[in-house]
Amino acid sequence: MKILAIDTSTIAASAAVMDENKLCGEFMTDLKLKHSEKLMFLIDGLLDNLRMNINDIDAFACGRGPGSFTGLRIAAAAVKGLAQPGNKPIIGVSSLAACAYAQISRENEFIIPIFDAQREEVYTGIYAHDRTGFSCITPDCIRNAEEYFTTLEERGGKYVFCGDGVLKYMERIKIQLGEKAAFSGNELLMPRASMVASLALQQYEKGQYDDYGTFMPEYIRGTDAQVFIKK
């Protein structure tokens, strides 16, 4: 089964094709946004290089968030349009999980992906990898950055941080957690479509997928207007 995966949840955009367990190819750009202009070229260029056609793809995978609302919608709308002819499956994968999955060589450390959510908040979750496999310890959520780092310190254990939040919060994390914190290398900092594809394959085997009508992003944060009305 060939899966085309995409992710535009952060300022990085990527597309990857996996054939069963083989990563056939991946294109990734980390420019200042412009996802709307670039995404289809990224996909088309990748398929072209792989001597493939969009019709060769059996299922689509998408980084479903959390992340930039607009970025999530660009990927989600695109994947819906790609999957609708032929009613092919869409596998939605947590963008935080995809980011964490690049760090699975780090055993005995909790993997903490953090995406900058502005307003001193981060999107995050706690992930881990051991002999039993990759797992989510604390589901994706939005937290005040300062409070969250304090909680992690109190919780105990060692951590490896990844995600674009590292760029903003590295110094504060170092002050708070000291020796307990390690950081992803720059090349694996952002969520990648290849990781989305790997996780998608696992989810697909468990029957966890949507179609073009049911697939939706996971925003986590409500809109300001909704929050205002609730207050």
Partner: protein
């Protein structure tokens, strides 16, 4: 050229819509309006609109194809509104349409929403050359239409759009959202001379509009009345305000037609549903011997049918978009 089947998508503001057109005949036009979603916020909330578009875009597409008796594989092109409008809302339609056309291996067409409104007039029988008044919640413009693709902007609003001031005045007098239709109804039976309002720019030698001063005059009256604890004559305020805006719209439109030597007039956009505007235009065109085209209300408010009409003419002209098509929130005519 025959056998041209186009799916059009519209998501520029608060309607999610899909339509299918075949050889210039509109086969379906499905509109999901978000009005109920935005009412409690008193206006369109862009982030909520964008989320809702994503939830509905595939469903309106399936329904439009079903109703037209077509499948995705029948399509010659996928067309989409690329601007002007709310950027987040536009991006849903644009991203979806690009991927769909790519997946189908068919053409992609990017349509200007304002040209789409004029497309609705074509669908209702307007023929170039004609003079067009495009009047909506986001725009107010007078356009000379020489062919299905050759449009010249003669004038536009320098501040608020006509539909926008209708909404604002409606909100201030407590009519709620969407204000245009509610104000139109409240004005019926009101005294048009209750407030003396400036006919801004009506006699200036151009085709531009300015509505913010009129809006301020109404708001000042209401605030003054509130300060003095005097009752507000809502029908009177609405009637005076509506008459003022319509006097300007009709006056400028007729003058433009005369000066441009055009004897056909078309009116489109959401405010073309306003009952007094329709009545006054019919009378003015009768007096001057002009042909008048006003599309059905369903084609005046935002819908993909009008986008499909424009897309069809672009298809015939070979005007296609590439995969880097982006949303252009302030695209000009």
């Amino acid at each position: 050229m025959s056998g041209v089947t186009i799916l059009a998508i519209e998501s520029s503001c608060d309607e999610t819509s899909a339509a299918v057109i075949e050889d210039g005949s509109l086969l379906s036009n499905i509109v999901f309006s978000q009005i109920d979603i935005h009412t409690k916020y008193g206006g369109v909330v862009p982030e909520i609109a964008s989320r809702s578009h994503l939830e509905k875009v595939t469903a309106v597409t399936d329904e439009a194809l079903d109703k037209a008796g077509k499948t995705l594989e029948d399509l010659s092109a996928v067309a989409v509104t690329c601007g002007p409008g709310l950027v987040g809302a536009l991006l849903v339609g644009v991203s979806y349409a690009k991927a769909l056309s790519y997946s189908l291996g068919c053409r992609l067409i990017g349509v200007n929403h304002m040209r789409g409104h004029i497309g609705a007039a074509f669908l209702a029988g307007a023929q170039p050359p004609c003079l067009t008044l495009v009047v909506s919640g986001g725009h107010t413009m007078i356009v000379r239409v020489d062919s299905y693709s050759d449009f010249t902007l003669l004038g536009s609003t320098r501040d608020d759009a006509a539909g926008e001031v209708f909404d604002k005045v409606a909100r201030v007098v407590g009519l709620g959202y969407p204000g245009g239709p509610k104000l139109d109804k409240a004005a019926d039976g009101g005294n048009e001379d209750y407030l003396v309002l400036p006919r801004a720019m009506l006699n200036e030698d151009n085709y531009d509009f300015s509505f913010s001063g009129i809006k301020s005059a109404v708001l000042n009256h209401i605030n003054a009345a509130k300060m003095k604890n005097e009752p507000i004559d809502v029908p009177g305020v609405c009637a005076s305000f509506r008459k003022c805006v319509c006097d300007i719209l009709v006056g400028k439109t007729i003058r433009a037609a005369k000066n441009e030597g055009l004897n056909r007039i078309a009116v489109c956009g959401g405010v073309a549903c306003n009952s007094l505007l329709r009545k006054m235009l019919i009378e003015a065109c009768d007096q001057n011997g002009y042909d008048l085209t006003i599309p059905d209300a369903s084609l005046c408010s935002d819908n993909a049918g009008m986008i499909a009409v424009s897309a069809y003419h672009q298809y015939l002209a070979g005007d296609f978009a590439s995969l880097d098509l982006n949303a252009s929130p302030s695209l000009s005519l």
